[in-house]
Symmetry: C2
Subunit: 215 residues, 2 copies
């Protein structure tokens, strides 16, 4: 019913291209060419840029232009710090049976994707899994924050060109976390999740080719 504004549609389109990897980190986004390509005004593109910049998907260099954000080594640690705070907290909240069911659904979605050998789908299933975890807190703000974090992660993965085994490795962990949750032990699930996140961060820092400081 609510028709999205043109600026919002432009932002959506750019978000899509970013998620698909059509725009790689570091790439420059020129106002005029985007305005021309999408058939909108430069001013409207500008509004869309403001939105994407607030989501950290894009970085503004004053008088120089906007560039697709690229996560540096420190950013990876930072993003995982946010994830640890939010996901673990939401997990300890427990969540309603429907919330737990959503987590289970994401786990099964991942299994199917792995069976089909589709690691694009495997990646999105993993994001659904973590999104469902945060959703247990029932907090619109936490959901929004997590949404942004996941979008940032997606951006990063395209840069790292993650191989199939990357996600597959985590499938049994997701299963274990989900089982703990389903058997009414959210604290146990939270501990597993925390360990998972720590390991995931290490893996990612490694892929990124960065000497991780043992903190």
């Amino acid at each position: 019913m609510a028709v999205p504004s043109v600026a919002e549609r432009v932002a959506d389109e750019l978000r899509l291209q970013l998620a698909e990897g059509a725009l790689l980190p570091g790439a420059r986004l020129t106002e005029s060419t985007i305005a021309e390509n999408l058939g909108v005004s430069r001013n409207t593109v500008r509004e869309a840029f403001a939105e994407l910049a607030s989501e950290r998907l894009v970085v503004r260099h004053p008088n120089r232009g906007v560039f697709v954000a690229s996560l540096e080594a420190g950013d990876v640690h930072d993003v995982y710090t946010v994830r640890r705070a939010i996901e673990v907290s939401a997990m300890r909240a427990g969540g309603s049976p429907e919330d737990v069911a959503a987590v289970r659904a994401a786990v099964e979605e991942g299994k199917r994707a792995a069976a089909a050998g589709d690691h694009e789908a495997l990646g999105t299933a993993n994001q659904h899994f973590h999104g469902a975890i945060v959703a247990m807190a029932g907090s619109p703000r936490l959901n929004a924050i997590m949404g942004q974090v996941l979008a940032e992660m997606r951006l990063f993965f395209h840069k790292a060109t993650v191989d199939a085994q990357f996600y597959q490795h985590y499938l049994p962990e997701n299963e274990a976390i989900c089982l703990a949750l389903e058997s009414g032990k959210p604290d146990r699930a939270a501990d597993l999740l925390l360990a998972y996140l720590d390991r995931s961060e290490d893996n990612l820092s490694e892929v990124h080719g960065d000497a991780a400081d043992a903190e």
Copy 2:
């Protein structure tokens, strides 16, 4: 060195007015009048609005205008859900001695304000206290999120016209939390903080005149 753009200065100015209570929740912000008052273009005001909207300080009603955000009952709970996730997580991280010193400084700042009977200062000291707690995590993203949350809270306090005793009541709690932190017991401090936040939420919901559902 970096000169803020006009749009950013407009956003800053509006943020200031919001923090000072010059613009009360629910008030309408008309593009043309603000543009005229600040001597800038309507388009620039529009960019500033986009920024404030992304911070939830302002709400956009399509084709109707932007209004100063007003926290409803559910929003209070939501904001506290975010605070619990972020603050408690940061607290458990412990933090460097300088970080702890910053927390201590905020506590003392609060004491001085209370002694002087300045509850405007008492409020900001309290915000510094919680900001310092989050800063222990050393995460720019968490700091940014907390900054937005605190800005939202400030908005709400102007609506509720909180009395002096509101903050004063929490001074000894801040002291206790800080002491636990200083004596190397961050987990103990985190537990105290969690209890603090729960009680604070109850108080606020009460002030707001809302039948809180005991969850």
